[in-house]
Symmetry: C2
């Protein structure tokens, strides 16, 4: 099928284990003269999902839990850009600009789609602003830093209610990922807490919420119940037959109406496909790309393959392929084989792997495992977990690093360094539920607010009595007076309906006010009108 | 002096080695009933400056190069907040709000100021926007990530001039810090470059610029010349008797007028004191707090002490105290002793340490050292450097971690994982020198610009001929058309004078436009006027 001298362009989208292993197998199967392999991924590494929760406690070094794609696939061209568009008709993929503001077009002969999933909080109020996803390395590091920040603040905080919120941690989703995150988080917080002298004796509350009637739906009932007992013994509250429905900066709200006051909500609930695939017009099953048992995209057989979490596939025997690392790695082998067959001619192979077993870590020398039909739990399962996952980790140097990390983690207490990298103060959105306070009279004025949706009321305490001063709704601004005059808030703002606001931090507000006078004028006039009103008695503003 | 039962409040500002060791010694010298020790620091760790450059290559794990303050000083209260004000008259320090937007006031009986330095780019155009400081862990991680990003982009970039800029690295300052950063950076880039197949053979250019007539002013001439030879042999260009004067996103501009096209400028030039000290009204010497040989702040003897880089001190023998870790650690001991004397009564001690020697790493098995009068260079100095600094690192577990990191770094190639945490797209400033292009016709429209200072021209290429369309100056906006209409730039913008602009990224622009209609109107009307002009022939806009 291949004309001599015509080098084929194979383009792989996504650098998770599915995409990276496809490239790795293709490098082995195809000669450099036969094909040029390119791989598009936003990061220059592949995350080993099963070990990601260990980043929380730092028992694996931050950069040891990932594999540098360039080392594993030295012959592939890595393009570290964001995907903008896939054009299946023109056979061209467009990626975002880099240092130079030009989009880049990548033509292909053969396309592999391995984009995994993305977290979607669609239709769940306040989740985007307040629930932390747990998918990639940045998420894991951000969660670790947030936990340390919460402990640091709890140690300083004098208000008991706020301290208790800071020491409450909610994880949504009782699958492997949620259970492992909860186990690691609970171990970590309880272990480092003793370094915080003022909260050493306070109770830490960890809540795991899951929609089913037991956790770990991937496993048999007895192993799931074993896991529940282990977690409960370590102090984790397990809430079943319920789910996270909404979130604010002060609490998690479950579907049943139960509210948990907390500053930390982690969501590991199942995901949707990447936006670039959502707008792709092709055969799909519940949003995921529909492929045949050769893993070819329906309608693009012999040209486009899809694998991993973004695809919906059945094995040769007709069973649906679950979204796990062991399946992704084997799918990659099938895809690489079939691309080679497409280039050279030859027989395509069907995906026939049915899974070797299931492993879930519970942290702290415990795990659950079902391997080749045998069920194991406890210390032995934990050794199995570590042994099997370490042996599957790509690259010898990484294996050594992780092994040493584990030895160190056994010998010494976990590290509590907060590697702060994020600037927290940019223009962002926030969600409030009815009755929640946006800010209190007397607070420091750090942001200006614009109401995008919902309503709130302005309340001022005078002579010990709260007085209702005004109602505000969509399109209204508030909070400009304290920011413009650099004083503290002169009133309290409380949501009267579900409220979505845009926060403009003080620094950005000042910059914009000076650069775009019309912008500043809007707020200056408002402040003038409101302070005039305040003086002439009635409706002032925070 | 101390009344029985009256627990004294000792407040330490700054958690560098000076502050952290003061707390550590105080915990040993004073009983818990005698004093409550608090320490304010923005991070919960102390950075070991001499090893910080090793974070660049990852030869020391990201979080291994720092010491968690809570572990070293378990009895002190760490307050992880930003300093806002020091009131020496009222004996109160104010810190920024945490999760709750209230400032916190901390009263003290005894105050220790150990705030180190901060990088100041005052009066150097474009430095704040384009030169990277190298002081703390976040700086080191950000530099490492930037280097990897530059290599990734160079590997994809087809434009040779841009590729060469991406592969040029400028470090300003030839003291210990600048030399160590340059040595690590040069080793790292040249070592990982081979993983980038398209730039494997391209030249990397590393330029070290220093104001003196030789680098390492801290050392004797022969050792400095040895270091220069070693660096030159590894391909580093050393530019002497010159200094960095300005920077843009495209080049470094030296005082002599020499320009180096580059995307990476690191500044290690000496620093100034923290802003909170700049506004403090007390005795100073070139901005630094003036202390006597007991390290007491002039005018506040027996109440306020200052040490480390933020203070100006002389030893008992009358020699100025240099800003090094070994001096800071000994100053901490003196301060702790003198605070104990102030509380219990007793004799104060004078600071008499004159330094044991000087060590500078050149990376790659080489270093220079002057110890107890003996000068050593090369491999032996390198072993000395590692041995001495490792032995001085506080905490046994960290020593083990670093030791293992070093063994791994000797056995395996450096890790090239880019741990991206920063969102790059917030409202920010940028500086352009005359003749530089802000954006080119045909570029992707990713930001709207507001001119804060300076002027630029609008040029459109028509029939292969550049045509001057308009001049813009302070307060003018540009770039809104491509962003509003989501198309590429229809003209080129070039600075005609030094130009300072505010960049509003597309996302923030859209959000603000919708939330504050008056803001959007400014740009919509402008765009309408300009596109009207464009149609009726003359002055359109990018």
């Amino acid at each position: 099928m291949n004309m001599p001298g015509s080098k084929k362009k194979v383009l792989i989208l996504g650098g998770g284990f599915a995409g990276m292993y496809t490239a790795k197998h293709l490098e082995r199967l195809l000669q450099p003269e036969e094909a040029e392999i390119s791989l598009v991924n936003l990061e220059n590494y592949s995350v080993y999902q099963p070990m990601l929760p260990e980043v929380i406690s730092g028992s694996i070094g931050l950069t040891d839990v990932v594999s540098p794609i360039r080392r594993i696939c030295p012959r592939s061209h890595l393009i570290m850009r964001d995907l903008e568009e896939i054009d299946l008709a023109r056979k061209v993929v467009t990626v975002s600009p880099g240092f130079r503001p030009r989009r880049l077009e990548l033509p292909y002969d053969y396309l592999v789609v391995a984009l995994g999933g993305t977290t979607s909080f669609y239709g769940m109020p306040g989740m985007l602003e307040n629930a932390k996803p747990f998918r990639n390395l940045a998420d894991a590091v951000a969660l670790r830093n947030h936990l340390i920040h919460a402990l640091e603040e709890a140690d300083v905080e004098t208000d008991a209610a706020l301290r208790s919120k800071l020491l409450t941690f909610v994880v949504a989703g009782g699958g492997f990922s949620g259970v492992e995150v909860m186990a690691e988080l609970n171990d970590f917080v309880n272990s480092v807490k003793k370094n915080y002298s003022r909260i050493r004796k306070e109770k830490v509350r960890c809540v795991l919420v899951h929609s089913g009637d037991r956790i770990l739906p991937e496993m048999t009932q007895d192993l799931a119940l074993f896991a529940q007992r282990i977690l409960a013994r370590r102090g984790v509250e397990i809430v079943l037959k319920d789910r996270l429905a909404a979130a604010t900066s002060e609490k998690a709200i479950f579907k049943s109406g139960v509210e948990v006051p907390t500053k930390t909500i982690v969501s590991t609930v199942p995901s949707t496909v990447a936006p670039v695939l959502q707008k792709l017009d092709c055969a799909k099953d519940k949003g995921r790309l529909l492929v045949n048992s050769f893993l070819e995209l329906q309608g693009y057989e012999g040209t486009v393959w899809a694998l991993g979490d973004c695809s919906s596939a059945k094995t040769k025997a007709g069973n649906p392929v679950p979204p796990t690392a062991q399946h992704a790695i084997r799918e990659a082998k099938t895809v690489a084989h079939n691309i080679t067959a497409a280039i050279r001619g030859g027989t395509r192979s069907e995906f026939a792997f049915e899974g070797l077993g299931k492993l879930g870590s519970l942290g702290h020398f415990s795990a659950v495992a079902e391997i080749l039909g045998i069920r194991i739990s406890g210390v032995l399962a934990w050794f199995l977990w570590r042994g099997i996952y370490l042996s599957k980790f790509p690259g010898f140097s990484q294996k050594v690093r992780i092994g040493l990390d584990w030895v160190i983690a056994l010998l010494f207490p976990p590290d509590l360094v907060q590697l702060k990298m994020l600037r927290e103060s940019d223009i962002r959105r926030q969600h409030f539920e009815p009755g929640e306070v946006v800010f209190n009279q007397g607070d420091f004025g750090d942001s200006v607010y614009v109401i995008e949706k919902g309503a709130c009321e302005v309340i001022r305490e005078q002579d010990g009595q709260p007085r209702h001063l005004a109602d505000l709704g969509g399109g209204d601004y508030f909070g400009e007076m304290a920011v413009l005059a650099d004083v503290s808030r002169n009133a309290t703002i409380r949501a009267t309906t579900p409220l979505d606001v845009l926060l403009i931090p003080k620094d950005d507000f000042s910059t914009l006010k000076n650069a775009v006078p019309a912008f500043g004028d809007v707020f200056k006039e408002l402040a003038k009108a409101r302070s005039g009103m305040a003086k002439s008695e009635s409706r002032p503003e925070a």
